[in-house]
């Protein structure tokens, strides 16, 4: 259980996280979404006691991280940078972590096994680890204390497809065991594959907090793309669709139709004898939902004044 209450972080005049109140519960994978710079990493760092909140609280199992005596038993984390010294072997890195929290040395070998790092890879110095091995080592560190809460910051960044699949299966397994799993990502498509619930940030503010299915279902009806060789035919189709209650946006290339199914558009075209070259139903995706949700905040970020957050 991760509890954020009015969590705020300002760096000088810039507000990185703005009055964030959200609760992240166990037994599911929660996707923590937002464009780059939305405040995801800062939020995670505050949960881990690395950054001090300007205002509000970040609690893990009801307590601030800095008060935990054996934090690795309560929270496991993979941060953007895996935090391995370039000259220290992965094995020694994990051994030091384990010792700090009174975790027996054999657990180091167990977690290395869990993430699929063999002895040869674990003996390499940090600088010789590939990105994928580094991520696995970071996850091994997160699992050392067998914690009920896991925070993974951009875990699939830079991984090959095998690694990505592995992370997906792995995080799903961890959530199914009843753990709280929070995964940040700026890749919506990735979250669509992994998350049960999403918390979306835009410019440090909470934009959405909902089950994934709900978020996709509640967005405006998806559109149908229509193209054909006869402008006159398309115009007739457009008129017919309008009487059917559909919203039609013509452009030089064809029509974009919302409010009716692709099947209905096809039937009407057949009735009118209009030749079509394309009839594509647009799938409602989290990607689109996300873009709509954060559009305002992103546009705003690019604006010249940025006065409103001051």
């Amino acid at each position: 259980m991760i509890t954020l209450r009015g969590l705020t972080k300002r760096f000088g005049a810039a507000t990185a996280v703005d009055d964030l109140t959200v609760e992240i519960g166990p037994g599911q994978v929660t996707g923590f979404l937002g464009p780059n710079g939305a405040g995801k990493s800062t939020t995670m760092r505050m949960v881990l006691g690395l950054d001090r909140p300007t205002a509000g609280q970040a609690l893990v199992n009801g307590r601030p991280y800095r008060e935990l005596r054996y934090p690795l038993h309560e929270v496991g984390a993979l941060l953007d940078a895996t935090g391995v010294h370039p000259a220290r072997s992965g094995h020694a890195h994990l051994r030091a972590m384990a010792r700090s929290n009174g975790i027996p040395a054999r657990r180091v070998d167990e977690v290395l096994d869990l993430v699929g790092l063999d002895a040869r890879a674990a003996d390499k110095p940090g600088r010789a680890l590939s990105l994928g091995m580094g991520q696995r080592l970071g996850i091994a560190g997160a699992l050392l204390g067998d914690p009920p809460v896991l925070l993974l910051d951009e875990p699939v960044n830079g991984l090959d497809p095998d690694g990505v699949r592995w992370i997906r299966r792995f995080t799903r397994g961890l959530a199914d065991e009843g753990r709280t799993v929070l995964i940040s990502s700026h890749l919506m498509s990735e979250m669509q594959q992994t998350a049960d619930r999403v918390v979306v940030l835009g410019r440090g503010r909470l934009v959405a907090d909902a089950p994934l299915a709900e978020l996709i279902a509640t967005r405006p009806a998806s559109s149908v793309r229509v193209r054909g060789p006869e402008p006159a035919g398309l115009a007739a189709l457009q008129a017919r669709l309008a009487t059917d209650g559909a919203t039609v946006t013509p452009d030089e290339d064809g029509l974009t139709v919302t409010g009716v199914t692709a099947g209905r558009v096809g039937d009407l075209a057949y009735e009118l004898g209009v030749r079509l070259h394309e009839l594509t139903p647009g799938a409602a995706s989290l990607e689109e939902a996300f873009l709509e949700l954060t559009a305002g905040s992103v546009e705003y970020a690019a604006g010249p004044t940025g006065g409103e957050t001051r």
Partner: protein
């Protein structure tokens, strides 16, 4: 708040209880980290070589001064401990690197975030580092002290003497000096973060500022210089009775180390990692 603190983790605690207390664990972790990078071993080698070269050089100077034509500066027969203490002037900068890098390397590589995630209490982390740095620099001090004595003795020849008790006391004193300077370096590094900046400040505190103060030979300035850590340490090593007893010199140096740790703890608590 009350309602939330009673929230229990949803997973039963199937894992074994921690095998050590958080402070003992933090010390063990620091120990493991120190010895799992090769640079620590290079630092030890460099400390031994620096001591060997400097003690040898100082011993040669002493012999020359006793045997040249100028009778005005004849140090006479020297205890080897005096040569060792003199050689610390340079050797200390190698040894204090252990304290310095214990924290600056963590900031430089980002491992500080791992460290603080494992041990979120800033005071506990710094105390654990101070224990490890103090113990290690003390042991290194014993080693280089013994090396310095072993090098100085044959070079001094008839101009040297090795009173057993006195030499042991000098070597242990050197080790204590190095341990306190090591902890001073650690505390300053925690406050300043960067290796270059910290080393510059240490140079200033241990050498440049007190030397500048002593240079004009004005009593007030010299007294101020006596309060600096390096000068205080030298009064302790030389067994001086003026301007204050040797033990006070040790206390002044220890005070500097403690103040640096307090400053470092304050900075660690305040700053984002």
């Amino acid at each position: 708040m009350t309602a939330l603190t009673t929230v229990t983790p949803t997973r039963p605690a199937s894992r074994p209880a921690p095998t050590s207390g958080p402070f003992a664990g933090a010390v063990a972790a620091e120990w493991t980290k120190l010895w799992s990078v090769r640079s620590t071993w290079w630092t030890l080698l460099a400390a031994v070589l620096t001591m060997t070269a400097t003690a040898g050089q100082l011993a040669i100077y002493a012999v020359n001064a006793n045997t040249d034509d100028d009778p005005s500066v004849n140090p006479g027969i020297l205890p080897v401990g005096e040569v060792v203490a003199g050689a610390l002037e340079l050797t200390q900068y190698v040894v204090l690197a252990i304290g310095l890098f214990a924290i600056t390397s963590e900031y430089a590589t980002g491992t500080i975030r791992t460290t603080l995630r494992c041990t979120p209490s800033r005071g506990r982390v710094l105390a654990a580092k101070a224990v490890v740095v103090g113990v290690v620099t003390f042991l290194v001090g014993l080693l280089v002290g013994a090396v310095g004595a072993a090098v100085a003795r044959p070079v001094l020849g008839e101009w040297g003497r090795v009173p057993l008790g006195g030499t042991v006391a000098d070597v242990v004193g050197s080790a204590a000096y190095l341990a306190l300077v090591g902890v001073l370096a650690l505390g300053l590094a925690a406050a300043l973060r960067g290796a270059v900046l910290t080393l510059t400040v240490l140079f200033a505190l241990l050498m440049i500022v007190p030397l500048s103060l002593q240079e004009p030979g004005i009593t007030v300035l010299t007294r101020i210089a006596d309060a600096f850590p390096g000068v205080a340490g030298n009064h302790f090593l030389a067994g001086d009775t003026e301007p204050y007893p040797a033990a006070v010199g040790l206390l002044v140096l220890a005070g500097w180390a403690a103040a640096a740790l307090a400053l470092g703890r304050w900075a660690l608590r305040r700053r984002d990692a």
